[in-house]
Symmetry: C2
Subunit: 223 residues, 2 copies
């Protein structure tokens, strides 16, 4: 998941579900905290999340970290470059993934449907990342946090979105490293939103959106 506002996010995520049969391996269970792959591993498979949340990160030698994306159900992760993974991938919650042989992406010979779906996932990925660049490079802290909350709402599906209750499976530090901020700034921005009555914090990981429009206009100076 990137912070990309209301684009037609994952319109075909459902279509992927049809084709469970083509996965070369049925389903893989990951405990909370388990790593699916590391940066530099050679990339043998792609993974589609069916349950839980994954986190993709990239590290600098001195410990600075960037969260590249969160993998929610429907997302495909593990696209390689030069045959290798370019991020670490860890389960934030107990998760399940369906894995696909890399060759299904390379060629449509084995399974044209799976091939097409993985390809579309790759293109979605590129589009989402392009959107995300704008946010990392050009938005203020409040705009980033607002965009993040809006994007999270989108990902929860109509049900939870309508309720305005967002459950954040990741710690503040992950949000900070995702948005290019510090945990302190994220925390202060939450407080500021709370004090202006835009959100409420039910508990540390549950955000109630009180003024969705205000949040949107804070986030959506863009696009």
């Amino acid at each position: 998941m990137y912070v990309t506002l209301p684009t037609q996010t994952h319109a075909n995520a459902v279509a992927l579900d049809i084709d469970l049969s083509v996965a070369s391996r049925p389903e893989l269970c990951l405990k909370d905290g388990a790593y699916l792959f590391f940066e530099g591993d050679d990339a043998r498979r792609l993974y589609r999340v069916t349950e839980g949340v994954l986190r993709l990160t990239r590290l600098m030698q001195d410990g600075r970290r960037q969260v590249i994306a969160f993998g929610f159900p429907g997302d495909v992760v593990g696209f390689p470059s030069g045959g290798r993974h370019h991020t670490d991938c860890e389960a934030l919650l107990p998760a399940r993934v369906v894995s696909y042989k890399m060759s299904l992406l390379d060629s449509e010979a084995d399974d044209p449907v799976a091939h097409q779906l993985l390809l579309q996932a790759a293109l979605r990925e590129i589009g989402a990342m392009q959107d995300h660049f704008l946010m990392l490079g050009r938005k203020s802290a409040s705009e980033k946090v607002a965009s993040f909350l809006v994007a999270m709402t989108e990902r929860l599906g109509a049900k939870a979105a309508a309720a305005g209750r967002i459950s954040l499976p990741m710690p503040r530090s992950d949000i900070a490293d995702f948005l290019g901020l510090t945990t302190e700034t994220v925390s202060r921005t939450f407080t500021q939103f709370r004090k202006s009555g835009i959100i409420a914090l039910e508990n540390i990981q549950t955000v109630i959106v009180l003024k969705p429009d205000a949040l949107l206009s804070l986030a959506e100076s863009c696009d």
Copy 2:
């Protein structure tokens, strides 16, 4: 082009050259300043740059801008999401591109070789963007500018790289919008590098790298 340090950048760029014949349209010439496509256009074709430099940008309503990438010879641009282009694309210099029908990416039926090459370009794109995130989100102004200069050196090929002479086809404002900085900060950082003897400015668009190692260590706190 993203600011991605010494990964094996574009190892297969040469391979693409072999297959000029498969392009559904031979070659397209773009004048300096011409647009190849706009954000929101429906994406009918992919383009491989053979000469010149393209610039991919994304805009916010209020005018804030992010340069997503520069397209140098060998780069493929125009990957769509939801069937549409997500950036504007303009020629920075007189440029030539080979265009490919989108269907060549979707299916290997027409031309397996072209299909494979476009696919690999898409994957390279994802990898490069992941690297670039780290820079946008986590690097300081000097680190960003140093990374940018190193990346530009890489793109010029061994010949020019060895000479340490970098010709920057884009104005400072494009560099700034690419790195998430202001033109003033970019300018000041150049000056600072010049005063510390790391670079010299032959003219406004030609940088001479005097201390490549210093530049690298400034840039490469990462990865």
